[in-house]
Amino acid sequence: GAGVSQSPSNKVTEKGKDVELRCDPISGHTALYWYRQSLGQGLEFLIYFQGNSAPDKSGLPSDRFSAERTGGSVSTLTIQRTQQEDSAVYLCASSLGGGDTEAFFGQGTRLTVV
């Protein structure tokens, strides 16, 4: 597709279960970001991939959170042993990389932990 695609669009899971969120960036984009947005709040940075460089994981809130980016394209954000405070919209963005390029966002995955 032409834009950033995220799946699923909505996910309801039970507390303690693991979840995987998927992001398909725009083809050719070397930079990929994950953000978390709680209701009515701003964007909280989670992790940043740039090409073949080691990802910047400084925003991951705990060791229950991890992310991979396979082949420089698709990325998966995994949350283990989900907690209710993990409920939020998880947004993915991609860009061509470099210091002055626009990042394009997906529609997000709304995660609800019950």
Binding site: V4, A31, Y33, Y35, Q41, G42, L43, F45, Y48, Q50, D56, L91, A93, S95, G97, G98, G99, D100, E102, A103, F104, F105, G106, Q107, G108
Partner: protein, 112 residues
């Protein structure tokens, strides 16, 4: 740590009036700034950007002003319309690391 922040969490304007949304940043190493608009239930969408070697850039009905002396960024929307109602975020990319960092957001409400 260094961050990008906003002065006003909510701005209410009358349809047809001009809107000004402000953002203060503290990372002097940032050299690229972007304004995003986020409508309810959607991801942020690019509105306009500006590089640090500029102090003003105009788009269609929108203008971004950058004051590096006081580290202040603003978004001006002319003749605000109901469709402009959304949350607006400023974001910055530093010249080290190229990471996109967001401010806290301002909700713009347009009254008919």
């Amino acid at each position: 740590g260094e961050s990008v922040g906003l002065h006003l969490p909510t701005l209410s304007v009358q349809e047809g009036d001009n809107s000004i949304i402000n953002c203060a940043y503290s990372n002097s190493a940032s050299d690229y700034f972007i304004w995003y608009k986020q409508e309810s239930g959607k991801g942020p969408q690019f509105i306009i950007d500006i590089r640090s070697n500029m102090d003003k850039r105009q788009g269609q009905r929108v203008t971004v002003l950058l004051n590096k002396t006081v580290k202040h960024l603003s978004l001006q929307i002319a003749a605000t319309q109901p469709g402009d109602s959304a949350v607006y975020f400023c974001a910055e990319i530093s010249n080290a690391g190229n990471m996109l960092t967001f401010g806290g957001g301002t909700r713009l409400m347009v009254k008919p």
